[in-house]
């Protein structure tokens, strides 16, 4: 009899732990429609972010002359996709350049192509004119600036490095700061996929 009581207690405990998922990302307050923008995709075609309505969108900004931060972010997003949606098209990764001077659609094609090899649903790599990029960055509070550093690799771009999560209803649901691990983003996303109303 005593044993059954213990089993019941442990089961309730486990259930409680499972329910109280601690989110790693930060939800915007209030949650509302994701800002939309129009850019050029990695195939040189016009692309509207809201074309992806119906999917979970993981949105990141960066540049291809970035050997440290940006590949880390994109490999994290690849791992998130691999964990939660490896064969499906429920999750779409979108990478927007903040260095349109050097990152043409052709370069974006090669760059994102390195990270999306595993998936039938390929990553989007977006470029545009400097004005279009600014219009796509500003509503997400993305900041960036060009900096001459004297490196043989040319100028560097200082930039914020958050990841934004947009839900299938095209609401901006969460912002992940730089440094959040792939498994933490995946856990948040899985929680939402099971319970879209989770908070």
């Amino acid at each position: 009899m005593k044993r059954w009581r213990w089993i019941a207690l442990i089961t309730i405990g486990l259930l409680l732990v499972a329910c109280a998922h601690q989110f790693s990302g930060v939800a915007p307050n209030p949650i509302g429609p994701a800002p939309d923008f129009a850019l050029i995709d990695e195939n040189g075609q016009p692309f509207q972010l809201s074309d992806l309505r119906g999917k979970w969108i993981l949105l990141a900004y960066g540049y291809t002359h970035c050997p440290d931060v940006c590949p880390l972010t994109l490999s994290h997003l690849r791992d998130v996709k691999k964990t939660v949606d490896s064969n499906g098209d429920e999750v779409q990764v979108v990478f927007v350049t903040i260095d349109p001077e050097r990152d043409t659609p052709d370069i974006m094609h090669k760059y994102v192509g390195h990270f999306d090899k595993l998936f039938p649903q390929k990553f989007k790599g977006l470029s545009g004119t400097p004005a279009e990029i600014a219009a796509a960055a500003q509503p997400y509070h993305v900041r960036y600036e060009k900096k001459e550093t004297g490196s043989a690799d040319g100028y560097s771009m200082n930039h914020t490095a958050e990841v934004y999560l947009i839900d299938p209803q095209f609401n901006w649901r969460m912002t992940f700061p730089f440094g959040v691990k792939a498994e933490e983003i995946a856990a948040d996303l899985q929680t939402f996929m099971k319970n879209p109303e989770a908070k």
């Binding site: 050997p67 590949p71 600036e145 490196s151």
Partner: protein, 147 residues
Amino acid sequence: MKRALVIGVVLLAALALAACGGPGGTTGGITVSDAWARTSPMMERAGAAYMVLQNSGAAEDKLLSVESDVAKTIELHETKESGGMMQMSPVPNIPVAAGGKTELKPGGLHVMLIGLNRELKAGDKVQLTLNFEKAGKVPVTAEVKEQ
């Protein structure tokens, strides 16, 4: 004449010792471990290598430069967060405190491989020679990883 011979023998011995360093070896108080390079997204863009530098010596040492046939130019860089933005710039050297360690890792200090001579594919090995102010040349093998 005799002196030249002695210098020659000492130099040879030093070279032999340096060659023995190998991956994860210790040279002049400096130990390098966990060296890895990231797979390169594309040849036209720089690669990055990371490692842990440990100094068992009694004085601070500095990593001054890195040589390798894998890239045309190799620089030491640091990514720092400032005002919410990630900023990457070259650094003149990477100090390792006496009895301390300095970690080169994503989002921080790294070796930047500019002008790749070959694609960096997962599982490949990259030979790097680290030049320290005191320890001199330290050979290191970095494994290419998809991270």
